[in-house]
Symmetry: C2
Subunit: 576 residues, 2 copies
């Protein structure tokens, strides 16, 4: 990967650049965050001309290594005001990598109110008119592009909420089955909308393979790596069978399943929405229990969820979405939850933010608790069309909370808190508080060690060891997010020594390098620190690394735990 | 004033406290900010149980000194997230002072969804049910209270936006003519609403006079002070004749009158909305050109504006409101502007925030530019009723900007920027950027020296001297805001030496003290620093002391000036 494509939307020009030496060892999040930190003024308006939207495949993306097909998108987030990286599966990452494109940088903003499509080929990028796509939701855009080009075309697209620059808007990526994966968190769809880009099409005709410096070493490492994924009980058994939704019953049992907008830690109807129930439903209806978000995925934690007649409702039906709508918003019918998930894919909003904001709207009395039908209507007819109510909801959980003067608003740095209660799973609370991305479980997934006993065990109800756990995981994750690997490779990496060493071998074999584990850790630290520095320059301070106040005075049953870290304890996080 | 009344809305109890020694020399803003800084956790949710709403008359309030009848209200602001003090005229300040009440502190939050009225008498405070007042706007509440008690009753009240905890909601105070003055900025009405207090009634039966330690000295000083107000051309001539709206033509001439949401510095229809036109209209219709917001006001910058038939439309018709609706939102008809002003009094939203947010809604395409009739409808039927659109607008300019993904959003710390363009009047830009209150012209009114040539002259288009000017004025204003004096006493105080010394003599004569000018400066510095410290603990950093980015890249005609202070230059402000 030796090309940087730079698109200037102010004057509608494109430049092909070679990769500067200091960026050559970077990919994925490491590269998007480095470019954003270097080129975006931290205090700039996220929807103004000085923000940049950067796409970068990971260091291993496009190679045959399992799980390596993820694409990072980065910018200053309009939702959080922080630096943001959000990665997704789909076909685009591997296409870009095989085309030798290390990064696509989109900068500036058109003066005219006209919409555009970027068309990426081996010849570079052309900027095409796209006013005819305006007002379409994502599946319609994909359908149109498939017909205009061929089903092989890669597509990155935004729905109407992205056009309208709503902060919950995501960027959708076409997956191998013509369905949708998402750069979900942080409102990056609004950044794409602010630059008047409705979609990006990728025609990889003429692309070769990603060159591998030492193919033998690569093959050996790839086998060890793949075996470790299949050998580990979480990535080899739990996730393929039940999807990420295996976590409903596990978190419910642990008392860490936030219920009714974070009032309780257990949900009475957990059985109706669990991974086990979902699995049985899919099997009975003839859907798919296993499904990958990109070519080369061997975990297959996704699924295809159909209705009773076998008609597609959704795929990539994740625990966090099901938790948010099922437990936190109290919707008991898994079909209603699936329909909401499919709608969120179609209109293009982050399904975590979407689920959390719907529960907050219920807290406000705007939607009745548990009313899945009304949620579908609101997604389709309010958020999807940009009505005033849709504007309130489509701008995220924090925005809904402010619109209705609510106090119980589960956000950190204005991003909705996902599916794990920080009072009863304290490690994840440290991640929410300190992550450079706002509340984000994937930034340092302490659930592994707090709940799943992967990489050892640290009692989720005690404070001891949580800061160090979150720090180690956040450092490791920043590095993993730079490889193009899916975050679930962390399970074997934490438990099976040869899994992690084979990952390093894969990088070394691809690039002819001799990196060690220490180098990987150093990379993770460097990324976190440059992201943190960006945020500090943008106006964040340690006082922003805090959870919402209500967690400190509202005990959550069944453990009746409160959030009890002192400021000093949290701030220890950054001492590295 | 020796009583502190503390009302706990969590358990509906009231405590009478004596004034602690360290608060005895404080009043107004000095006292509200000291109490908020001492008792409110800086990171607390502004609408949660840990915020407190504090009312305090100034040090001279209730005495016969001219201009001394203002009441300070303080809390953590739900609009800005900073500490907030907002002061207003009306009858309540002098009533409370004469009742010996140095501060009324309202804390906690009721568990039950029931509304209350606080009734303040010489016996203390009783907490009365007020569910029958819910849904009423301010004039209806005042009318009901006048009938329930007598027209002498003091009233502090919130309209529906305050009940609904909207961030533009103010706290309205009944004035001597049964009309309304406002604790306008910072959304303090939402704080009152969060505590489920619809109104506060004050029955001062049995109250005596404020004791004066040295009556002779007081009388002498009061005469000198009053004479200086009448002698100065601004407070003695300009303001009484044309009201604050004298500034339309002055700022237009200076190229600092923000027009069409801060696109231009001059407004083509300035003559239609000027103070001169307003004066002639009032005279022709038989309204009042002079009017005071509290007993003892001799500047009389207010007025009573009627329609053609002589029917009351509004009073306290200020330059900032007329600028915001007239120039910035492009409404050309002064009657429409007056009707909007009257509506904002009635529903209870800050008329500066209200005007700025309406222009922002025009920027978003929600309201046609200059459509004064639609603005009235929106105020009455959307914001006044809490519809979804009303929730968007009623939460302020920054909120509107986010709802519609706008970039040209004139706010600092989420508070709307008032009537002076910071690019062409650079001193006021420093005040907006650095004020502890968010964008607030009154915090350090450099217009005096930049435009009116009061206290010397510093060229508004140059950077030199602006930081020092703003700093000196912000320090002086923090002290003045503690006396209960109207901010316009600053005009003679800056130009006439005996004006400032007589003000100090008034304080010394009242309390039997020997304060010097240095003591007053020290008090101002102390207040600013404790407010700044609160904000820092709440999460603000120097990077928040910045103007919106567009001011740096959009030159404003006619001078084509941009905002060009470096971060380092701005941050010099706090070096004292």
């Amino acid at each position: 990967m030796n090309k940087i494509l730079r698109v200037n939307m102010s004057n509608l020009t494109v430049k092909l650049e070679t990769v500067p030496a200091q960026w050559s060892g970077l990919g994925g999040r490491g590269l998007t965050s480095t470019i954003v930190a270097a080129e975006v003024p931290p205090r700039c308006h996220p929807l103004g001309p000085n923000n940049k939207l950067v796409f970068a495949p990971g260091l291993l993306t496009g190679t045959p290594a399992a799980q390596s097909g993820r694409l990072s998108a980065g910018a200053k987030s309009p939702l959080t005001g922080t630096i943001k990286e959000s990665n997704a599966g789909g076909t685009a990452a591997q296409q870009l990598a095989r085309m030798g494109i290390k990064a696509l940088i989109i900068e500036g903003m058109p003066a005219e109110d006209k919409w555009h499509r970027l068309h990426v080929t081996m010849d570079g990028v052309s900027i095409e008119p796209a006013d005819d796509l305006v007002g379409m939701q994502n599946f319609a855009v994909i359908d149109r592009m498939n017909k205009t080009f061929s089903p092989k075309i890669g597509v990155l697209t935004i729905g109407v909420p992205g056009e309208l620059r709503m902060c919950a808007a995501n960027i959708s990526v076409k997956d191998p089955d013509q369905k949708i994966r998402s750069h979900g968190r942080g409102g990056l769809g609004a950044v794409m909308g602010s630059k008047k880009i409705k979609c990006i099409t990728i025609d990889d005709t003429g692309a070769g393979k990603v060159p591998i410096a030492d193919p033998d070493k690569f093959r050996t490492a790839a086998k060890i790596f793949a075996k470790s994924l299949l050998d580990h009980p979480v990535s080899g058994e739990g996730l393929p069978t039940y999807g990420t939704n295996i976590l409903i019953n596990i978190l419910n049992e642990a008392g860490g399943l936030p219920t009714k907008n974070f009032r309780y830690g257990q949900c009475a109807h957990h059985d109706k929405i669990s991974g086990e129930t979902m699995h049985d439903t899919i099997v009975a209806r003839g859907g798919k229990t296993k499904h990958g978000c990109h070519a080369g995925c061997i975990i297959q934690c996704s699924q295809v969820y159909t209705d009773n007649a076998g008609v597609y409702i959704t795929s990539g039906f994740e625990y966090e979405t099901i938790w948010g709508l099922g437990a936190n918003a109290m919707i008991e019918d898994l079909d209603d939850i699936a329909k909401c998930d499919g709608l969120m894919d179609d209109i293009g909003i982050d399904s975590i933010e979407g689920a959390v904001l719907l529960a907050t709207a219920m807290e406000a009395g705007v939607i009745p608790w548990g009313d899945g039908k009304e949620c579908q209507r609101v997604l389709r007819d309010e958020i999807g069309k940009g009505t005033p109510l849709g504007r309130i909801l489509g701008n995220g959980t924090s925005f809904v909370g402010r619109a209705y003067g609510l106090v119980r608003v589960p956000v950190v740095k204005d991003q909705g808190i996902p599916a794990y209660d920080p009072r009863s799973v304290k490690g994840i609370g440290i991640t929410y508080a300190t992550s450079t991305m706002g509340a984000d479980h994937t930034a340092g997934y302490t659930i592994a060690t707090n709940i799943l006993k992967v990489g050892g065990f640290i009692d989720p109800l005690k404070k001891e060891g949580q800061v160090e756990l979150s720090r180690n995981l956040q450092i490791a994750t920043a590095a993993i997010d730079s490889t193009g690997m899916c975050v679930f490779i962390a399970f074997p990496a934490l438990d099976i020594p040869e899994s992690f060493t084979s990952l390093i071998d894969l990088i070394n074999a691809t690039y002819g390098l001799n990196l060690t584990a220490d180098d990987v850790t150093a990379l993770g630290m460097k990324i976190l620190k440059l992201e943190h520095e960006f945020n500090n320059s943008a106006g964040f301070s340690p006082a922003d690394d805090r959870l919402p106040e209500f967690f400190s005075y509202e005990p959550v049953p069944p453990h009746n735990a409160v959030w009890d870290f002192t400021d000093e304890e949290i701030d220890e996080f950054w001492n590295f």
